[in-house]
Amino acid sequence: MANFWRLFRRNRSAVAGLAILVMVILMAATAQLLYPADPFSLAGASMQPPGEGGFLLGSDSLGRDVAAGIAHGAKTSLLIGLLATIVAVGFGTVMGALAGYYGGWIDDLLMRTTEMFQTIPSFVFAILLVAIMKPSIHSIVIAIAVVSWPAVARLVRGEFLSLKNREFVQACHTLGMSDAKVILGEILPNCLSPIIVIGSLMVATAILIESGLAFLGLGDPNIMSWGFQIGAGRTLLRSAWWVCTFPGIAILVTVLAINLVGEGLNDALNPRLRERQ
């Protein structure tokens, strides 16, 4: 662990990304304390520019506090990003492991499925899924996971393919270990690093997809999110630029921070790759 941190620390931009990410997490965690009122509720005069009328980042046409929306939206973005990634990585890992380890029809099925997913415009597919299932946290998480898992499955499959014929795995077979034990106890731990890296980058993509969906009006109607704020504020572009601007900066900064952390993880976990660069 100490060794890992030493490697991670070498990438200065990754450390900066981590610092920003921690701040975003803190903001999400303290949103309820900072802005105890419902972020959808009227908080004062409408259309106040930043800094006036007691609004740090201004208010929108319904008198909603933009800053409160951003604080509460952080929770939504992080939550959906994390949940969707966990589902996608979990499912993708299982499918990829089975396909890589056993080959045969599972592998064929998986490869054909991922091929199809590479063809389908994934964002349009996500839109369709959410529209059909009705917008809610569940449907958004499922939609993002559905379009994201094939990448994980392909990665894990490749790792399993290259590891399953190594000596240490053959030794396990000779010892009479069960398949489940070999998969979970021997091969999987050896391909955790790339899974962690792809997972961390996937959180960023998931947040971008979520904000896009919410912008198009496919967010959970009961939950404040950055994409929703921008979508609701776009009609006010002429008169109140701040309503759209600040939530967008929040998305940009968060996604950037997560990408930087992901690259840092990649450098720290794959020393071979780092040396090549």
């Binding site: 415009p121 964002f123 349009v124 572009l237």
Partner: protein, 328 residues
């Protein structure tokens, strides 16, 4: 076998490979339709305001909705293969007609985006790779990193605020100024003027991708044996970079351009709805608002087909560029 015959066989093989994918997409489409709450008859009844259960049962029979699922699937497949994508009850038009109507603007937007993103991406990647680890490289890498993390719709809105509303350089929305009744070159100019902001916005994300790819590809090629040979021959660094390395480095960028077409369509939904560009994406946005599922599925199907055909075309171009592909 002659070269042309071989090439033709390759093209045919690729065409055949695309068939199962297209079929699978149609089947997925069918099941999505099944997943949705209510069927076409419910929609019709909802539109009409009221309908007796008997009348609805009769309608279901007429549409074949009382048949078992496999039969319905077969009918659906047959319809789609005959280019019948169903009927949009909101627009009171066949889906196919609606979708084809909006196809050209999207194609225009996508083609201009691909050219801008690939072109500028190649130049930026080249600049970064030739000035490795200088301020130029750092600046370009930071730019790529930031644009990679930026939501497209937000950039579009910011462009509107700054460039359209503040400076008045570009129109805020639409594809042309219809009230002006431009004709000939005036109209082309008008459309081009409207095209600038959507294209730049949609390009940004892919620009970052191509820049990174081009930089990595250049660096990879620079370490190859043929570069050493060229250097031993006494060629100038300039000539090695721009003639030998550049050509080889371009190949992965071309492939990536094909792979990214699907993502580009997703991006165009967002960009078109920001700029009210009257293409498929905008149509999808409208369909979302009016809960017009038939239309949405039609758009999805067409965009998937578009990706399949673009990939096919790219593969064929690729086989001309790089004859080694045929062997594998």
């Amino acid at each position: 076998m002659s070269h042309t015959a071989k090439r033709l066989r390759y093209v045919l093989k690729r065409l055949l490979q695309a068939v199962p994918i297209v079929l699978a997409i149609i089947v997925v489409n069918f099941f999505l339709l099944q997943l949705a709450e209510g069927d076409a008859v419910d929609v019709l009844a909802g539109e009409a305001g009221s309908a007796t259960p008997e009348y609805m049962a009769e309608l279901r029979k007429k549409f074949g909705l009382d048949q078992p699922l496999p039969v319905q699937l077969a009918v659906y497949l047959k319809n789609v293969l005959a280019f019948d994508l169903g009927y949009s009850f909101r627009h009171e038009m066949p889906v196919l007609e609606l979708v084809l109507d909006r196809f050209i603007p999207t194609l225009l937007l996508m083609v201009s985006t691909i050219f801008l993103a690939v072109g500028v991406g190649i130049i930026l990647g080249l600049l970064a790779a030739t000035g490795l680890n200088t301020w130029r490289d750092t600046l370009i890498s930071v730019f790529a990193l930031v644009t990679y993390a930026t939501p497209l719709f937000w950039v579009g809105l910011m462009f509107i605020v700054v460039l359209s509303l503040n400076f008045g350089w570009f129109p805020t929305s639409g594809m042309e100024n219809i009230a002006a009744f431009h004709e000939g070159w005036d109209r082309v100019w008008d459309i081009a003027h409207h095209l600038v902001l959507p294209t730049v916005t949609l390009s940004l994300f892919y620009l970052a991708l191509y820049t990174r790819l081009m930089r990595a590809s250049m660096l990879e090629q620079a370490g190859m044996d043929y570069v050493t040979t060229a250097r031993a021959k006494g060629l100038t660094e300039r000539r090695i970079m721009f003639v030998h390395v550049l050509r080889n480095a371009l190949l992965p960028v071309v492939t990536m351009a094909g792979v990214q077409v699907g993502a580009l369509i997703g991006g165009s939904v967002i960009v078109e709805s920001v700029f009210a560009w009257p293409g498929l994406g905008m149509l999808a946005f409208e369909a979302l608002f009016s809960r017009d599922l038939n239309l949405l599925l039609g758009i999805f199907l067409l965009s998937a087909l578009l990706v399949v055909s673009v990939n096919l075309i790219i593969d064929i171009i690729y086989s001309w560029l790089d004859p080694r592909i045929e062997v594998s």
